[in-house]
């Protein structure tokens, strides 16, 4: 490896991808400076709990830190929080910062992630107590507004994972919660009709109103709270509104560096962008998945961490570094743990296996005979076995898999 003592690696973005990349760089032998910038002033924390356990935890509870503070000192990782990067001058290898200064880099890592998409609904910008859910500040704002509201009427705009998790958490805190979903089913973009039906039933049984085919057109203030208007002329009162309708990838900096963009920042198998000195990792990347042989963009912790490690190796001069991971994901809602492994996008047949315990089942997605993905609901065994089968490209006996009289063991299905 080339000596890196006098070189600086700058990372933009201090969430899962950026922070894991910094520590991975040290592990792989990067000797020079490592500087991370993020406009979020909060010490780097785990994001997934924000809509789940954090929201229902005691007020004032500290965030779960990605790494303890001492580790940054030990590894000489410089955190520059509360500072925005304004632009990248790729030819000069310099970034300009919101505090008026500049920073030179030898290698640059973009872990710029995404921001919540706020739909152009009349009155949404001026309405009080309307929040996205992505950062610690968002979670704190939601909690504060919720606690301060005399009536606890919550409206969630968007029935995706973030919306449903937030709905479940606020319901646990005693809110009156309705979810307004534009499509005809919740989770329409990310899962199958069967899974959507399960989560709709789960929420309804727990007292959450799930309202589909609802396009919000306008938000108007009331003396107490807001009135949310839909295109079918229905209206809903809400003290707190959470918007979870998807994200927009942060590509402004990549654009300033003239990087190739395609549904995100286009990267190679080693997470290199179209500029050899600039890498990109995490939610902001459009990358190739070896297993599924397709280009994708993924919003997940798994992708953030795995790409962080790949980029660190490549930056440290290792050759033939290739991102080759099977995606995984989880969601916690009420007493349900959903675990997903793989990408079900191209499936053409589905096996559902129901366990004896209530609300415990798994869905196995196949394209012809190839197992693509498994959704496991309160049944971690299926998640673990599915992972093993997918990685090994194991042929699975679907008839046996669907037969619950056959014990759930690896050898039962192969």
């Amino acid at each position: 490896m080339q000596a890196t003592t006098d070189q600086t690696c700058v990372i933009i973005g201090a969430s899962h991808a950026g922070i894991n990349c910094a520590f991975a760089l040290r592990k792989e032998g990067w000797e020079g400076a490592i500087i991370i910038y993020d406009k979020d002033p909060e010490f780097p924390y785990h994001r997934p709990p924000l809509s789940k356990a954090y929201l229902t935890s005691e007020a004032g509870t500290e965030h779960s830190l990605l790494f303890p503070k001492e580790n940054y000192t030990e590894d000489n990782i410089q955190l520059k929080l509360g500072i925005s990067v304004l632009s990248i001058h790729a030819e000069k290898q310099i970034i300009t910062l919101s505090d008026g200064s500049e920073q030179r880099y030898h290698k640059l890592v973009l872990a710029t992630g995404a921001r919540p998409f706020i739909p152009p609904i009349e009155g949404i910008v001026t309405a009080k107590n309307v929040f996205p859910m992505r950062t610690a500040t968002d979670a704190n704002n939601i909690r504060q507004a919720f606690n301060a509201a005399p009536k606890k009427r919550v409206l969630i705009i968007g029935g995706g994972y973030i919306g449903l998790e937030t709905a479940a958490s606020l319901k646990k805190l005693g809110a009156e919660v309705s979810v307004l979903e534009r499509e005809s089913r919740v989770l329409a973009r990310v899962t199958t009709p069967e899974m959507s039906a399960f989560f709709t039933k789960l929420h309804e049984e727990n007292g959450v109103n799930i309202l589909t085919d609802k396009t919000v057109t306008k938000i108007t203030p009331l003396s107490e709270g807001n009135l949310v208007h839909c295109s079918d002329n229905s209206q809903y009162q809400a003290d707190v509104i959470v918007v979870g309708v998807g994200i927009t990838v942060n590509t402004k900096l990549a654009q300033s560096a003239n990087l190739i963009l395609e549904n995100g920042i286009k990267v190679s198998a080693s997470c290199q962008t179209s500029n050899p000195y600039i890498y990109a990792i995490g939610d902001c990347t459009f990358h190739y998945n070896m297993h599924y042989q397709t280009n994708i963009r993924l919003e997940s912790v798994q992708n953030a961490i795995d790409q962080a490690k790949v980029a660190a190796k490549a930056i440290c001069g290792q050759t033939e570094v290739i991102y080759d991971s099977i995606p995984w994901f989880w969601s916690d809602q009420f007493d349900i743990k959903l675990q997903i492994v793989g990408l079900s996008t191209d499936y053409n047949n589905l096996v559902i296996r129901n366990e004896e315990t209530e609300n415990s089942f798994s869905m196995w997605y196949f394209k012809d005979d190839e197992l693509l993905a498994v959704d496991a609901v309160n049944f971690a065994k299926a998640y673990m076995l599915g992972t093993r089968f997918i990685k090994a490209k194991q042929k699975v006996d679907k008839i046996k898999l669907a037969d619950t009289s056959i014990p759930f063991k690896p050898n039962s299905f192969i």
């Binding site: 798994q302 049944f379 971690a380 673990m384």
Partner: protein, 102 residues
Amino acid sequence: MKTITFITSENDIIETQANSGSLMELAVKNKVKGIDGDCGGVCSCATCHVHVNQEFWNAVGGPSALESDMLEFDDNVSDYSRLSCQMQVSEVPDGLVLKVAK
């Protein structure tokens, strides 16, 4: 303050000390190779798998139902497997020795 020792799959011995938190957090803090804790400690990823030294097994206790389901089909599962994110420093014996699963 308790002393907890991790032995990596490359047989590096890492002695750590702590009062609180999970053993996964302790391992991450001390850069124990093979313990990642990618999901942040919610028993969702199985990247913090350890084998408890046999002599401590009774004092430590076995896994919960969810944890046990996560472990059952792991390639390197043993009779003494646990996920270290589900083990609290406050609840394990002083002097505990853990081997990191491959």
